[in-house]
Structure formats: C-alpha cells, structure tokens
Subunit: 243 residues, 2 copies
DNA sequence: CGGAAGTTTGACGTGTGTCAATACGAGTGG
DNA sequence: CCACTCGTATTGACACACGTCAAACTTCCG
C-alpha cells in the first residue's frame, strides 16, 4: 500500500473507530515514521526480541504467539487493522511473544521516543492506549476460556463468531461473508487442539450446516445456533480508539 | 487492616515496587476513597456488573474468572498485593469477568472520577497503569500457553513456580516457603483440568520430590527440575509500578 | 463431636492426540 | 496443456491423557 498520512487514513472512515481531534491526528502523524509491508508468513516481532518496534496494523491479519523450546506453539490472539503491536508485555524490554503476518500486512511504524510525549501532551490518547491494552487482554481471556473449559466444538464455534465479527467491523465483510485467511493449523494453535481434531471438528460443524468455509471465505449460516454453542452473549460494541 | 494513608503504605517499602514522587503519592492518596475488607470466598466484582469499582489489592489473594452459563469456570489469573482490579476490560462499562477473594483481602477503593485527572496531570502514573494492564495480559498469555500446549504435569509445575515467585516478591515468603491459600480446585480451574486429574498430577510431582505442599504452605524443593519441566527461562524482574 | 470443605484413590469412559496415508488446489516449469 | 510440487485439507485406525463417577479419608472448626 502507498504511504498514507494519518489524516487520510482509510481506517478512520470506519464506524468502529472513535474519531480523534485534528490536533491528535497531527500528533499521531508526526509520531509515524513510515510504513512497511510484511509478507504472509514472515515474522514481525521475534520472540525474545530486545526493544521491539511499535506498530499498528493498517491492513491485513497477523497473530501473536508463543512457542515452547520443543516447538509447540500457542496462538494468543489475532491482530486485525487498528490493533497495536509492541505495546503488549514489557512496554520496554524484551518481547515475550512473537508476532507473525498471516496475510501480507501493512504496518505503520511509530517512534518509541515519542510515546513519552504522547503521555504528556495527549492524555486522551494515552487513555486510548490503556483501553486497547485492556481490550486485547479481554480477547486473550476469552481464548483462555475456550482452551480451558470449552469442548472443541464450542471452542471452534466461539472462535469463528469472534473472528467474523471483528473482520466485519473493519469492513472486511462482503455480502455476509468475510475473507478468511486462517488455516486449520492456526485454529488448532489458537485453541490448543491438534490439527487433525480441528479438522474433524470443523467438518462436524459444517455438516450441521452452521457455517460455510471455502476459498478463503467464511459465512455464518446459523449464527443463532453458533452463538448458543459458544455460550455467547451479544454485547454492545463501543467505538474503539485508533492510534 | 487499619485504614492506611498511601504515604505510609506497607507495600511501598518492598523492593519490587518502583518508588513514586511525593506529589504522585499525594495524588494517589487523594484518589483513594477508603479501604474495604472482603472475606475469603466472597465476590469482589460480579461478572456482568455495570460500572464496577476500581480497587487495588493491599493484602491477600484474589483471582479473576469467567463462568459459562452451565457453571464451568475458568480462572484467568491470580491477583496479589499491588494488583489493580477493575481496570481490565471495559475501563468503563460492564465487567466481563468476576473477581473473587481467595483469602480475606484488604482493598483500596479508588474514585473513578479522578482517573481522568490522573491521566491529565500525572502522565507517569498513566503510563504505569498501561504497564500494569500489559503486564497482566502477559500473565494471561502464559496461562493460555499452559492450558493449550502444556501437559498437566508441565502446566502445574509452571503455575507453582509462577505463584511462588510472585508471592515471594511481595514478601509473602517465610524461609523458603510461601503461604499458599490455593486449593486444588483453583489450580484445576486455572489450568482447565479436572479436580481429580489435578490431584493426581500434584501427587506425581510431589513423589518426584519437586516440591512440598501442606498446611497452606508451598516449598519448591527442586526449582531447577521444575523450571525445566515448565520450559521456564529466568527473566530479569523490573521494578513494577504501584498505584 | 459432627459436619463441611478439601484431598485421595480406584475403576472406567471418552475426547482428543498421534500416526500414516490420501486427496485436493494453486502455482511453476516444461 | 500436462506433469510436478508444495501447502493444505481429509480420513481411518489406534493410543492415551485426561474426565467422570463414586467412595473414603483427612483436616479444620464451630
């Protein structure tokens, strides 16, 4: 994607995002050092990196993960446009998790130096960062419930609904379907399941007619039934901040 | 515990906590509305509460959790002295998780109104809150790895080490043992295991001589072996902020 | 002393993992 | 346009980690 200035950021046109003042946008723009593209499958942050960069996702999907020394991998949560990278964990210090691009991804790069100025001069933006951190924790919480206390069927249903809603919110939905770049291996790693069992679980859900998946495209056919499986309450979607 | 003013807070004497300026402490003290005690087993925040209060843990243990409608429970993480409550998830809005006292707990109650003033006038404190939120997310991350990708044996070892270190950091250690108020049911709910299997796993670890547990007291007998099981790297412990 | 809460044990069932092979789809090169 | 290949999806057979049920035991405490 071409370099974009923050005041012409395509994300700002979306309804999910809270509007900012002109002054705030100017500051964010000044903090933005540039933009990089990372190809699908490449690492954005390496687990153990010292002092990782600060990014935000401008387009595409990514995910945070941890790997054990013997290679077992756990996906912590997925990152979509508007999400921050590098603010988690030690805001300064080593990154305790890796981040990998799921699709080709455009990232805004921010200068870490200016974070301090942001906290000093733009308390509302500072609050937004806290909000985003807390919100992301909420997603990990939800994922932990799936991994720990839901059956494979429930967990997969929960994840599909969740990703669907998030993708739709950032306008990635096209007539009741979203572009779905996630492989079964990703689902397995996110939920702590094996690849084979994930496959069989997806097949069961599909046979029940609850959703359609194919050609990188996900459609929820029976959202009510899925929500019931997922023990999922509809919650009001507050506007979320965009840095 | 008697009402304590923030500048005489016993936690501030501990090495883990980052010192604050006098002005900051004064502000925190002004923000503190009082102190309450919650008895072991009682709920501090009810899942679904509208606009829950803001607290910090002054003494005792608590935990955050979610329950599904049929009663299955997942513990998200444990809270020890110095941890904040109510800043997670929707910093304003419903709480998506409950918080329960594990032991009798003393809590500092903060007025939500002043949060805004804090962000405006004390950017460093604002940053600390973000830090604490991100740090807590890191703990949920770690727990998710245990639940999703570690065996029961590894997961339990990981949790014991982790809790030991945290408790020792806030001076709850007495000659290589800590006061350990957690039941096997709590461990099970934190790791997504059944009570019975948790019991058998603990017994196995004990038979291996890796730790001692009894009379509410935990001792790590073979920390190296435990760390190996847990795939655990020692990390430098930065001073953590205290609000 | 009695009851509640927590811990232990054994027997047995099953959800999920592992292994191994096949099928499919998209891209590449001849 | 067909072979080839590589990543992904699919299947079946089988193993085991972990769950469930049920009962006893231990500790704590009023």
């Amino acid at each position: 994607m071409k370099q974009v200035r923050c005041y012409e950021c395509p994300l700002r046109r979306l309804a999910v995002f809270k509007p900012n003042t002109e002054e705030e946008i100017d500051f964010i723009d000044a903090m933005k050092r540039g933009q990089i593209q990372v190809l699908a499958g490449r690492e954005i942050v390496h687990q153990g990196d010292r002092d990782p960069r600060l990014y935000s996702v401008l387009s595409g999907w990514a995910f945070r993960f941890k790997t054990l020394t013997d290679g077992r991998r756990q996906i912590l949560n997925f990152l979509l446009p508007g999400d921050l990278i590098g603010f988690q964990a030690q805001l300064l210090g080593d990154s305790e998790h890796g981040v990998e691009a799921l699709t080709d991804v455009d990232l805004c790069v921010f200068s870490r130096d200016k974070i301090w100025e942001l906290y000093n001069r733009y308390p509302e933006l500072a609050f937004d960062i806290t909000w985003l951190a807390a919100h992301e924790e909420g997603m990990v919480d939800e994922n932990l419930v799936s991994s720990g206390r839901r059956t494979a069927l429930e967990a997969v249903a929960t994840l599909l609904i969740h990703l669907y809603k998030r993708a739709a919110a950032v306008d990635l939905a096209v007539k009741d379907g979203i572009d779905f770049p996630i492989t079964q291996q990703h689902i397995a790693d996110a939920l702590g399941l094996s690849l084979v069992h994930t496959n069989k679980t997806l097949r069961r859900l599909r046979k029940l007619g609850l959703f359609g998946l194919g050609q990188r495209r996900l459609v929820l056919l029976e959202p009510k039934a899925l929500r019931k499986l997922a023990d999922y309450f509809e919650r009001p979607i507050n506007a979320r901040p965009l840095i």
